[in-house]
């Protein structure tokens, strides 16, 4: 056994070596590996989080929101943390809309998770409940879910794309405009405790999130609703398989409404337009001066035999001018006239109107349609194209092409985007009309509009005629292609209209797929739908129509004598709330309304185009200016009545036909 001194020395050396080892290790950890360990410690103490950027909103042209991003929540429940499981559970189940059985199942888990997402309103009472953990997440919210849904599209469910709207745009405008809407997410660092829970302390922001831009669309909410309702009603009434409605402002190329059933087929599904395209054959003939408007061709008794096919007319005529051919939609006359064109001329005109090429509208996966170059034509191609066959177009292409006829022959780029605004509201982009090319000379476009006007006044489109406003339009009834073949007994009824016929403000294209109930002809199906939509648009206050200009093209409505109204109360469209232009100032005679009751007196004055200011109530006594004098149309005429003004009625009961205050 060693001596104590030796043992002591051994212990000393061992301790020294131990200390040396410790010091070495400390040096290794602190000096050599210090940075790595510091990183690891920081990673355990802190967490880098993504600060989502608010996804920009989509608004209609008047600023009404169509798509917004809102904070929603996933909800986690730790049953063992609940203070009073029975009442708490009842509250949680009620707010989250889960059944009692599902809640009982959740109670058996350590941590129950409900994905939702639940709105802030739904989870509000749960915030104070111990054991309930709310996980915020941004979600895309559509205030009017049915409105233009196929066009607006949706965002992906995941949080990808950096957007704060619940994900990147997955379809429709949400996808097409994703780079504008998404914004740039930020980043921050939060402190965590040992259990990984974030401390209740402010996060250290590394990069602020940048909100996405708001996009003001060209869609008019009210016109969109009118279009959707009219389409739904037509599809239901006619038992049609599908359909589309497009409304376009021909002066700017802005799409005002676009309605389709389920899919955005107005952009993606091409159809053979049939007679709708005859006007473009006429455009080519007139542009190339191959026909005069007085020239006639034989109607061939309604059946015309070509080398490899027979062309027939529904409404045989002995002889037809180009105007007649358009008016009664004569296949025979159009084939005969179009034979004067070379294939290159016929093709060039169709191409100039934008057929066979994408319109370039801001919509993903827009269909191009089909227009084969002359080198691929067969013998009957020229005749087929004159009648609107061997050509397929989308409803939006057709609307743009008719828009060119309305816009003095200039084809405009269609758009769905009116403005782009920064998160602070600054306008970064505002749409200006973008001409693509001149499709036909302005004079030819005017002649073509006259031909289309004849369709509504005396031709196949009379069902779309309005009493007070001239409409120019064309019907189209074409055999329907299903799986690459013409389906027996199936037709596509379509209608394209310019409203009003002079200085058009609206281009409407209505397409109905295979109407099975009643007539399948566009004249009886799509034309009345157009008329109904125009009437509703006229009566709607906020619709983007320039009523000041419309008032100058409605002479019959403004000058009709009061006794001709058949007792119908007129809907008086008030002073244009945002007039873009002014109408003509004509002087009119103030009618004698003495003795009439107030309603009839107001009606009589409105019929003459005057505004009315009331003095008193009851039967009319006299007016100022007096009856027989003249006043400028649109001027205010003061109507003096026998009795005093009644006190205002409680509640919002005012209507356009019930005057309680000066009608402006």
């Amino acid at each position: 056994m060693a001596k104590p001194a030796v043992r002591l020395r051994v212990v000393e050396v061992a301790v020294f070596l131990g200390l040396l080892l410790l010091l070495g290790r400390a040096a290794q950890v602190q000096l050599l590996q210090g940075r790595r360990w510091a990183e690891e410690a920081r990673a355990r103490r802190t967490e880098r989080i993504v600060l989502p950027a608010r996804r920009g909103a989509l608004l209609d042209r008047h600023g009404a929101p169509l798509a917004l991003t809102q904070e929603t929540y996933h909800v986690g429940v730790a049953p063992n943390e609940l203070r009073d499981p029975a009442p708490d559970g009842e509250l949680i189940a009620r707010r989250l809309g889960i059944s009692g059985r599902a809640w009982q199942q959740a109670l058996r888990q350590r941590y129950a998770y409900f994905g939702g997402p639940y709105s802030a309103l739904e989870v509000e009472p749960l915030r104070s409940v111990r054991g309930v953990h709310l996980e915020p997440m941004p979600s895309r919210f559509y205030p009017a879910p049915a409105l233009a849904r196929a066009t607006i599209g949706r965002v992906a469910d995941d949080g990808g794309g950096g957007g704060g709207g619940g994900g990147a745009g997955a379809s429709g405008l949400e996808k097409a405009l994703d780079s504008l809407l998404a914004g740039r997410p930020g980043a921050a660092v939060v402190l965590k405790d040992r259990a990984g829970r974030a401390y209740e302390s402010p996060a250290r922001v590394i990069a602020q999130p940048v909100a996405g831009r708001d996009v003001v669309l060209t869609l008019d909410r009210e016109l969109q609703e009118i279009a959707q309702r009219a389409l739904d009603d037509a599809l239901h009434r006619m038992d049609a398989e599908g359909g589309d409605v497009v409304m376009l402002d021909p002066a700017t190329g802005e799409v005002l409404a676009i309605a389709s059933r389920q899919r955005p087929s107005a952009f993606t599904d091409a159809f053979e337009p049939g007679s709708l395209a005859k006007i473009f054959a006429a455009a080519s003939l007139l542009s190339h001066k191959r026909v005069s408007l007085t020239e006639r061709v034989s109607g061939e008794g309604g059946s015309y035999r070509l080398r490899d096919r027979t062309v027939t007319d529904e409404d045989p005529q002995p002889s037809l001018t180009l105007g007649d051919a358009i008016r009664v939609s004569s296949n025979i006359a159009m084939v005969k006239f179009a034979a004067r064109l070379t294939p290159a001329e016929q093709y060039a005109t169709l191409r100039d109107f934008g057929f066979g090429a994408p319109t370039g509208i801001e919509f993903p996966a827009e269909a191009v349609g089909r227009l084969r170059p002359p080198s691929e034509w067969t013998r009957p191609s020229a005749a087929s194209l004159a009648m609107g066959y061997e050509l397929s177009v989308t409803p939006i292409q057709m609307a743009v092409a008719y828009g060119a006829l309305a816009h003095e022959g200039v084809l405009l780029q269609p758009t769905l985007v009116r403005e782009v605004r920064s998160p602070s509201g600054e306008v970064l982009y505002r749409h200006r009309p973008e001409p693509i090319r001149r499709a036909v000379p302005a004079g030819v476009a005017a002649v073509l509009r006259d031909l289309l006007r004849g369709v509504v006044e005396r031709g196949t489109g009379t069902e779309a005629a309005l009493t007070g406003f001239p409409v120019a339009a064309k019907t189209g009834t074409a055999r329907r292609v299903v799986n690459g073949r013409y389906a027996a007994g199936q037709y596509t009824a379509s209608f394209a209209a310019l409203f009003p016929a002079d200085e058009p403000q609206l281009v409407l294209v209505v397409k109905l797929e295979n109407p099975r109930k009643g007539s399948y002809f566009a004249a009886q199906t799509a034309a009345p739908v157009t008329r109904s939509m125009l009437e509703q648009a006229l009566a709607a206050r906020t619709v983007a129509l320039d009523r000041a200009r419309l008032s100058t093209v409605a002479p019959r409505a403004a000058t009709a004598p009061p006794e001709d109204d058949g007792g119908v109360v007129p809907y008086v469209v008030p002073w244009p709330y945002r007039p873009d232009s002014a109408g003509a100032a004509r002087r009119r005679i103030v009618p004698d309304v003495a003795g009439l009751d107030m309603r009839d007196a107001v009606r009589a004055l409105h019929r003459r185009g005057f505004r009315v200011v009331f003095k008193g109530w009851g039967n009319a006594v006299h007016t100022w200016p007096p009856a027989g004098d003249s006043a400028t149309a649109g001027a205010a005429v003061t109507l003096f009545a026998a009795g005093p003004m009644p006190p205002p009625a409680p509640g919002p009961t005012r209507s356009a036909a019930t005057p309680r205050q000066p009608v402006q």
Binding site: P65, E503, A548, L550, V573, A635
Partner: protein, 96 residues
Amino acid sequence: MRLKGRHWIAAWLVGFLAVTWVVYARQAAAIRDARELADLRTRSAGLEARRADLERRIRAAQGRAILVPRAQRQLGLHLPADSEIVLLPVPGSGSH
């Protein structure tokens, strides 16, 4: 007056306590502010949700699908034909 050792210790102690108190006060204030901020965010989100919900309901109520049938049923109104619509021209201006 020269400070003795114990005074130095006391001064250091006071200094340490003061610094510790400042740190504590700052942390406490930060946590209080964070809590307040979180509450405000929550309230703001709640109000936003309420606003959006009300807006949705107003828009739904203003929609033609609701308004037109109700106006027809309760007020006896109808959608006017174009012949029933009178547009008043703007006075005192030239033609377009």
